[in-house]
């Protein structure tokens, strides 16, 4: 690691001398204990009679631990470092502090562990940092306001039918390898435009129990798309102790709260909470806490509910926001109203079982869920969202008006299409109306397919979805939908960025804009039809003019 030889203004001898004079070195009695037993990331200590729950302890050699069990004559603590660094008979001191992480702008672009230690090899994190507690009460009811501002994911299927708002908790749930992380990463990448425009949504990606190589790939993907400028990655990989995996989401929430409480918007992705629950189960069983269903401790619901409640939209009144409950001392005087913290927790199901213990817990906590299915993924529908059972409880309040107008009935239309699709498998003759509905549904489905790492601005989404919902593609084949989309969007970007796309992104849609969209769609259809061979035609005959 290269040494920083730049001399800072603070390094004047008089300033340094003053600092030395202010340092308090007077000895004082500290409470200590002796390690009785240590195994599997948990240590049991004798002594520490006044230790408090959640307090940080310091072992000889510098390993830290957090008090989890307060029992008669002994204290149980989880270790936040390697178990083999702590031996029986070692002395352990109370620190009088609770576990916390230093948060601030210098964290952006960095990869850290749940205690804030950098993992990316880019040197120590320097700059103005604020100590944020890992465990903190969620804002009370009076310090919140309803979610009203959209968080654009850049994914048509989500922004149109399952819109997410700033301050909402939207669960992403599905089996392994169904694209859960891909949705989260695309959402983070899509915030680049906000960052460029000067109103950033700061992103925190929390990797819990994942492979180190996976985390490295994600960081590289974010970096290559310019997303690391406004993103912090908190990593507790599979090689880390269970205690660190347990604390990782809280560290992410603490960093997000720094931005939230200073009036900015933040997004935190917990990938994934199933692994955090497993880590918590491991720690609790070693601490001999009573186990419940599926051997999880009885408070596993509280584990997730207290974490996810910290995602909120803060009230816009400054004088009320300043009196927020449980405000850390480090944030006094820095609170700004109107901030938000959006949470995208991820849960992995086994064989599609959303009725299992942990999934049902988290579904009941969050403000909606995005359900991903393996069958849709394998059929090529990616993102593999089952819109029938996916829901956003915030709904249209988190959509721009133009999207609401264009895609307001899209979810119901697609649900009806799926019903008709299954019905049509048993019918040989279909009436014209049913055939048209099926054709429109299939083509809209094709429109909703989107490549990974290609989030779409909301203006373009509204424009292309207008084509789908108004049936403008009825005269082309199903396999021409992707070409239609590409050509249409190219034309819109080239010729109508300011008069159509920008107003649509701002929420405005009127007859003039709709006429432009229809005109451009017609032009693209003509070019596609003329490129087709004479034998080829559309799936259904064109409607003849009277």
């Amino acid at each position: 690691m290269a040494q920083n030889n730049t001399i800072r203004p603070s390094e004047i001898s008089d300033v340094l001398l003053q600092q030395l004079k202010e340092i308090d070195i007077s000895p004082r009695f500290e409470e200590i204990g002796k390690v009785l037993q240590v195994s599997d990331g948990v240590a049991r200590m004798y002594g520490l009679t006044h230790a408090e729950a959640g307090e940080l302890l310091e072992f000889e050699g510098g390993v830290m631990g957090v008090v989890m069990n307060l029992e008669q004559d002994n204290v149980g603590a989880v270790l936040l470092g390697p178990t083999d660094a702590v031996k029986e008979g070692m002395t352990v001191r109370r620190t009088g502090r609770i576990a916390s992480i230093l948060a601030g702008e210098p964290l952006l672009g960095r990869v850290v562990d749940p205690l804030g230690v950098p993992l990316d090899g880019l040197g120590p994190i320097e700059g103005d940092l604020v100590e944020m507690p890992l465990e903190r009460k969620a804002p009370g009811v009076i310090f919140r306001q309803p979610v009203c501002e959209p968080l654009q994911t850049g994914l048509k299927a989500i922004d149109a039918m399952i819109p997410i708002g700033r301050g909402q908790r939207e669960l992403i749930i599905g089996d392994r390898q169904t694209g859960k992380t891909a949705i989260a990463i695309d959402t983070i990448i899509n915030q680049r435009d906000c960052y460029r425009s000067g109103q950033p949504v700061y992103c925190i990606y929390v990797a819990i129990g994942q492979k180190g190589s996976t985390v490295a790939n994600i960081v590289e993907t974010l970096r290559s798309h310019g997303a690391m400028d406004y993103t912090v990655v908190v990593a507790a990989t599979a090689a880390d102790p269970a205690a660190l995996q347990y604390f990782a989401p809280f560290a992410g929430a603490a960093i997000g709260e720094y931005f939230r409480d200073t009036g900015r918007s933040a997004l935190v992705v917990y990938d994934d909470l199933s692994k955090q629950a497993v880590a918590y189960r491991e720690v609790s069983l070693i601490l001999r806490r009573p186990s419940g269903r599926e051997a999880y401790p009885g408070d596993v619901f509280y584990l997730h509910s207290r974490l996810l409640e910290r995602a909120a939209k803060i009230i816009g009144q400054q004088e009320v926001a300043e009196r927020m409950n449980d405000l850390p001392a480090s944030l006094q005087g820095k609170v700004r109203a109107g901030g938000s913290l959006t949470a995208l927790p991820i849960i992995e199901t086994q064989a599609g079982d959303v009725a299992a213990y942990i999934p049902t817990n988290v579904i009941s906590i969050t403000d909606g869920q995005i359900y991903l299915e393996s069958s849709l993924f394998n059929q090529g529908f990616r993102p593999a969202i089952n819109v029938g059972i996916s829901v956003s409880r915030v709904g249209g309040a988190a959509q721009v008006k133009s999207m609401k107008k264009v895609a307001g009935t899209l979810k119901i239309d697609q649900a009806q299409y799926y019903e008709l699709e299954s019905f049509s498998k048993f019918s040989s003759d279909l009436d014209k109306v049913t055939a048209m509905a099926l054709d429109k549904g299939r083509k809209t489905n094709q429109l909703l397919i989107q490549k990974q790492y290609a989030p779409m601005p909301v203006g373009e989404q509204v424009a292309i979805l207008y084509c789908g919902t108004k049936g403008l593609m009825r005269s082309i084949r199903l396999d021409q939908v992707a070409d239609f989309q590409e050509a249409f969007l190219d034309r819109m970007r080239a010729g109508h960025a300011s008069d159509v796309l920008e107003p649509l992104a701002a929420g405005k849609i009127d007859d003039a804009i709709m006429r432009v969209i229809e005109k451009e769609a017609d032009e693209v259809l003509i070019s596609l039809r003329s490129a087709a061979t004479p034998e080829e035609g559309s799936d259904i005959p064109e409607k003849k003019e009277a």
């Binding site: 800072r8 603070s10 600092q19 030395l20 340092i23 308090d24 070195i25 000895p27 004082r28 009695f29 500290e30 409470e31 200590i32 204990g33 002796k34 009785l36 037993q37 049991r44 004798y46 002594g47 520490l48 009679t49 069990n69 029992e71 008669q72 004559d73 002994n74 029986e88 008979g89 002395t91 001191r93 120590p124 320097e126 700059g127 103005d128 940092l129 601490l287 001999r288 806490r289 009573p290």
Partner: protein
Amino acid sequence: MNTGIIASRYARALLRRVEETGNGETVLRQVEVLGQALDALPEFRDVVAERMGVTYSQKMKLFQAALVPTAADAPREPLAPELRVFLEVLMRNDRIGDVRLIFHSFESAYHRARGLKKGTLRVVLPSPDLESRLRQFVESRTGCRLLLKTEVDPSLIGGFVFEIEDLLLDASVRHQLEIIRDQFVERNRRIV
């Protein structure tokens, strides 16, 4: 989660037994030696806690062997009868795995019952004056007699470290230098 309650109950039972027999000092000394052996040797702890494959008599032999004599030519003393019976009870009740915590509880309870406080003083050079002042300090504040053990530790550089039950007073030069370093780094990190 009931380990502490269980340990304190067994410790109280042993305390009452030694008060009846009057053999408290011997039992306390042997408990301290066995406790240090359990701390120092993970294998000893593992074998003692083993439920299958190691018999009661084999475990008792291990406990006996752990009573290392204080001098090279001193005879190996047998386990005090009260302690031997106590260990058998622990094994029979399947509580031998908690023996370390039970020993800690017993030591604390024994000292408390006799108005004693156990302390350790680590210094760079022995200082009878310092020891006397610490005894007066403790006895005036707690009303208990201080059993003080002094160790020499040159790594302290200067000053002393005084440990009494679960309190630690680190007035060593080494610790003060560590405080200066940590607070210095902490302050300078915040300056842009």
